[in-house]
């Protein structure tokens, strides 16, 4: 298996992608050990992808599609906080600017990590549309931040069960709890010392946080992204 051909060998992709491809093929083949390169190459074809609308960016399928889904959301968040820090609202307290700068750095770290991991399979840079956000107004900025963070958490949690590669599931887990930390901190800025950091509207009576499926998340995110995104090849169960 160590010599199995890689679909993409450039950059970091080889390292990151070989395991998922292999596991996917093994699953498809229904066996635990396989050494046939013929089968591996056959499975590497992308000819079973559904066509997407003209001009739309297709996230792709399988774990690659899910990583691109995460990459799209992280692009959105990183672009948002970059703008927030570049043009902070009037008389922003130093501690608040620091908090938002921290979050910007985390989101850029997520974005750049996913881009590196996806390498040749990464979707292009997305064009964002923040025309609905007033960057000079604290309530508008923090309100948008809250929306993006809550959405991000629900997206990762909804995607978890579709992830095939255990390493990717762990990586998603490492990111999602940081998004939840962001969400609570932003909510704490908006309504300090209340139950709003984890409100009943988001946490059900079993103490479980809201989960959203691919379609719900993409529909909610699309108004902030000029580039049309298609998740039609993302996994289903």
């Amino acid at each position: 298996m160590e010599n199995a051909p890689l679909q993409r060998k450039t950059g970091l992709t080889g390292l990151v992608f070989e395991p998922v491809k292999r596991r996917f093929f093994l699953r498809m083949a229904g066996v635990s050990v396989i050494t046939s390169t013929v089968l591996l190459s056959a499975c590497n074809k992308d000819d079973d992808m559904a066509p997407v609308a003209d001009g739309a960016v297709d996230l792709g399928k399988d774990d690659t599609g899910i990583l691109n889904y995460a990459y799209a959301l992280e692009q959105l968040e990183a672009a948002f906080y970059t703008q927030v820090v570049k043009t902070p609202y009037a008389s922003i307290p130093a501690a608040e600017l620091q908090l938002l700068t921290d979050i910007r750095d985390h989101e850029i770290a997520h974005r750049e990590f996913l881009k590196a991991a996806l390498a040749g399979a990464a979707i292009p840079a997305l064009e964002v549309d923040f025309s609905a956000i007033n960057f000079t107004d604290r309530a508008s900025v923090l309100g948008a931040a809250k929306t993006f963070e809550d959405l991000g958490v629900s997206a990762y949690n909804g995607a978890g069960k579709f992830i095939v590669n255990k390493d990717y599931l762990l990586l998603a887990g490492k990111i999602v709890s940081v998004e939840a930390r962001h969400a609570a901190a932003i909510r704490d800025l908006l309504s300090p010392k209340t139950a709003d950091f984890a409100p009943d509207a988001l946490i059900d009576s079993n103490g479980l946080e809201k989960v959203n499926d691919f379609n719900t998340v993409l529909t909610a995110a699309q108004p902030y992204i000029k580039t049309v995104i298609s998740g039609m090849n993302l996994p289903t169960k």
Partner: protein, 260 residues
């Protein structure tokens, strides 16, 4: 299978565990350095795995492990809310956190049904180390942060073990995110950032933050990536941006400090 069986196995493999834990108990706050890393040898992990028959047992163990951590948190907040340690201004936050922990206990007990582990007896002073936990708000906050960050890391460490069961995996992820929200808001009440910088636990037991200073993700060193043209992502940001998991073998000795 319950948690005490797990403890029993740990002690059988590592008879000095109890001793080491007791010794550490006598140490002051913040000096429990590398407890989890040092106390449990790799062999223990292997033996634990061998002693369980099948995947169903393994899932029951994971759920009972989660339940025990939730029992601990639930009892901790219930006790604090019944005392006067929490200032009135911060009660709303801890009432909400306490409610969630209670819901998690009920939910996991429901899922485990007859297989649910019994609630242990807790000693939140850890045999006197944290004597003022329910009279000194700062001590209470520090332990709260410690429990919440441990919870986040512990659930994360079990995600892979639940991959075979979509519903359970999703439930675990849903609880995991709620614990992370708790951790963030408690850290802020302590005057800390909502996220973990390097392996700095802000005076809480260091074992809880072991490995949080990792900057390598999926073979990528995050500090080599660009923040913007000409600037790399800082080590602080690289460690804050990714929460690290803890294994059961790392968490249990910490939990055991608080179990009679």
């Amino acid at each position: 299978m319950n948690l005490f069986d797990i403890f029993g196995k740990l002690e059988k493999v590592d008879p000095e565990l109890g001793e080491r834990v007791s010794f550490n108990r006598r140490k002051m706050f913040g000096q429990l350095t590398s407890l989890a890393a040092a106390a449990v040898p790799v062999a223990t992990a292997t033996l634990l795995k061998k002693s369980y028959a099948g995947p169903k047992d393994a899932i029951t163990d994971v759920l009972n492990y989660a339940l025990t951590l939730e029992y601990l948190e639930n009892k901790f907040y219930a006790t604090a809310l019944a005392s006067t340690v929490i200032p009135a201004a911060d009660k709303a936050v801890f009432t909400q956190i306490g409610k969630h922990e209670q819901q998690h206990v009920a939910f996991l007990k429901g899922a485990l049904a007859a297989n649910a582990a019994a609630e242990p007896t807790f000693d939140f002073t850890a045999k006197g180390t944290f004597k003022d936990v329910f009279t000194n708000y700062q001590t209470f906050l520090a332990l709260s942060q410690a429990f919440e960050d441990t919870g986040v890391r512990a659930y994360k460490g079990q995600a892979g073990a639940l991959m075979g069961d979509d519903a359970l995996l999703t439930y675990a992820l849903q609880i995991h995110a709620v614990e992370a929200r708790h951790a963030s808001v408690v850290r802020r009440l302590r005057g800390q950032k909502g996220w973990i910088t390097n392996n700095d636990g802000g005076g809480t037991p260091a074992a809880i933050y072991a490995g949080e200073d990792n900057v390598s993700q999926g073979g990528v060193d995050i500090t080599t990536l660009e923040l913007m043209a000409g600037t790399k992502i800082s080590k602080n940001a690289a460690t804050e941006a990714f929460d690290e998991p803890l294994s059961m073998e790392q968490v249990l000795p910490v939990a055991k400090l608080f179990i009679v």
